[in-house]
């Protein structure tokens, strides 16, 4: 997870590259997609070959079925190995992805029907809140750990940032805590509520402003008014 320290006032030191949810997603998908494609291709080819080779022709009778349970057992073993590999990679990556850092830039996110509110414990007085027709903007430093505490005021919502390949549900009476790292260079992105929550579910959008060091310092200095 690298050495990250947040100095008061908004500066930080970070290594050149940080892992994060997008990286974890890509790591798993880089295994799953080729495996899925390979399985699909094998079945398609086997099916196509069979349909051509064993099409009914005059004078050809079907060969009586002979069971070869060794083939079934063999396939079960092969699939078992594939499953073991997939699950191992998945579980290891999931552990990394959901691990919580000891320190980071904290965000308190509250979902409600039908908008978002973001406050920042280290920046008291700064509130980003949805208003009708004007989505809230989540202000975060890029390239460092952002710790989100997610709550809801009413029904279940979900906090989803597609660019980060990550979402988490907000549940009544519970606080969901997760870490995000926004790649440097992501100027702005979009977030959605992904859990159906009633009438204006499709309007629960928020913007993401992942700021580089300089802009983040400006934003911090100016109490969140302009960045």
């Amino acid at each position: 997870m690298g050495n990250v320290r947040l100095a008061r006032g908004g500066g930080w030191e970070c290594p050149l590259w940080l892992p994060g949810t997008r990286h974890d997603f890509a790591h798993v998908q880089d295994l799953y997609l080729p495996v899925a494609a390979a399985v699909f291709a094998v079945v398609l080819v086997a099916l196509a070959f069979t349909l051509v080779r064993y099409r009914a022709r005059p004078g050809r009778a079907p060969r009586p079925t002979r069971d070869h349970y060794a083939v079934d057992a063999g396939l079960a073993v092969v699939l078992g190995v594939v499953v073991a590999v997939l699950v191992t990679v998945t579980l290891r990556t999931n552990d990394e992805e959901t691990a919580l850092a000891r320190a980071g830039f904290r965000v308190d996110a509250i979902a409600f029907q039908w908008g978002w509110q973001f406050t920042y414990p280290s920046r008291p007085g700064v509130v980003d809140r949805s208003a009708p027709g004007r989505p809230a903007t989540l202000h975060v430093p890029a390239g460092t750990t952002v710790q989100v505490d997610l709550r809801t005021r009413d029904v279940v919502h979900a906090f989803w940032i597609p660019d980060l390949r990550f979402k988490r549900d907000a549940w009544p009476h519970k606080t969901a805590r997760f870490d995000l790292r926004f790649p440097p260079g992501t100027a702005a992105g979009v977030g959605h509520c992904a859990q159906f929550c009633g009438l204006k579910h499709s309007d629960m959008v928020f913007f993401v402003d992942a700021m580089d060091r300089a802009r983040f310092a400006t934003w911090s200095r100016q109490g969140g008014r302009r960045a």
């Binding site: 949810t21 974890d24 997603f25 790591h27 798993v28 799953y32 899925a36 699909f40 079945v43 398609l44 099916l47 069979t50 349909l51 064993y54 099409r55 009914a56 022709r57 009778a61 060969r63 009586p64 079925t65 069971d67 070869h68 083939v71 079934d72 396939l75 079960a76 699939l79 499953v83 997939l86 699950v87 998945t90 579980l91 999931n94 992805e97 279940v156 979900a158 989803w160 597609p162 660019d163 390949r165 990550f166 979402k167 988490r168 549900d169 549940w171 009544p172 009476h173 519970k174 969901a176 979009v190 509520c193 992904a194 159906f196 929550c197 009633g198 009438l199 579910h201 499709s202 959008v205």
Partner: protein, 535 residues
Amino acid sequence: MSATITPPYAPVRSLVGLAVGTDHKGVALRLGGAAFAFFLAGGILALLMRAELAQPGMQITSRGGYDQLFSMHGSTMIYLFVTPIALALGTYFVPLQVGAAEIAWPRLNLLGFWLLVLGGMIMWSGFLTRGGAGSAAWTGEYPQSAAIHSPGAGMDLWCAGVALAGLAGIALAASQIATIAGRRAPGMTLLRMPVFTWSMLVTCLMTVASFPALVLAMALLLADRHGAAIFDSAGGPAAYQNIFWFYGHPVVYVMFFPFLGAVLEVVSTFSGRRVFGYRAVVISLLVFTALSMSVWGHHMFTTGQVANGYFSLTSTMLAIPAGLEYLAMIGTMVGGAIVLRTPMLFALGFIVQFLVGGLSGIYVASPPLDYHVHDSYFVVAHFHYTLLAGSVFGLFAAVYYWWPKVTGRLLFERLGRVHFWLFVLGTHLTFIPQFVLGYEGMPRRVADYSPAYGWGGWNTVSTVGAGIVALSVVVFIVNVALTSIAGRPAGADPWEAHTLEWATTSPPPRHNFTAALPAIRSPAPLLDLREEAIL
């Protein structure tokens, strides 16, 4: 199959007979007919949804209206169409395939039919209320479905309707289990039952094991909505979801195994060979069933309330029995003399397309991947591939295959082919764009989206695809209508099939078999007979 035929009433063929007749074949046909009517109704809802989503902006309905559309679309398709029609296939054919004269508990069976019809009507009556029909998704998402967030009778009617539909499933399934347990013809041991009957057995076992959870969830939800503080605690919403999804995952296998069994029968018949690896099929069906009861948490990966690791492991393990079933389907064709009649076309469609659904299912069984695509159009595409492009193709394979047995006439081949190819084109056009849309960030259950995202193009393609699917269904209905006027008589066994239902007339007489049954020495008694005759 020995049964004393002593009816307390004379055979009833009137309108009254339609209401109270207990002949399992009549009940199955009425159930299938009701389910198909719900398919059309749910399909119209889908077309309205797709018309709304084709372009940004609300053109057809309001946000509240759209919420009712998608909630009732999902509810209708799952509770009122695919589940009942899957069970109906068994209601008709399990007694025939095991050589019984009648289903084991005919009154309970009839009760199930009526519970389904009444439950569906009650659910749909929600549209007539002031607040509209239930609109908290087919899952009754809590606390969205609580009284405070979904006031109004529509939601209550939805809960009541769903509970009745759940009870219906249990009644229908119990009758089939009892038939398999106690009504098999002499010589038909469990390991000589056809694969379709095995698939119905595991389906019905899953039904009786998991549907009570649905009934419980609905009863508790109704109580919660009327003042009892059941789910209104810190652990309440999670408890609801656990109970619901404990039903919610097995039900998707209830909506899959009967069609898998039917496809195996079709493949076996149209390849002219017995099923490859019969015992492996039986074992993998049983393993699949048992495993499917312990994966429900994978619907809750993003909640942070369940053990993601455990459920990811069990869900991914499903690939093993699934792979064995695929081996059986293809292995049966190898060495055969394959005839590509319409039932076989639909069976092949099922094999290819369900695989897309299954592989995307393994994908979403991985939490790091699911954290992105859960509750997006990606997962909508996943389950429509398994259910529509998969199971419903298997359903049509079963329908075209067994139509001549049930009605005595063959459906037209050429129209069947048109239906098939339109359906293939339609489903891919509808759902491939949805994989893309979900991956790019389009959430599900949204009535509208901003033009800034650029999703209009793919959404329009998807809507066109939905229209083509609708057209294919029209072709099927035309085929049915024309066949009933001028269809070719089928005879007892037009396909040279293997199992006992083909050993009687088309349609079968009241008590299924009038002549003596052939000797039963394998799951394919008619094939045995034919091979002996050659020797």
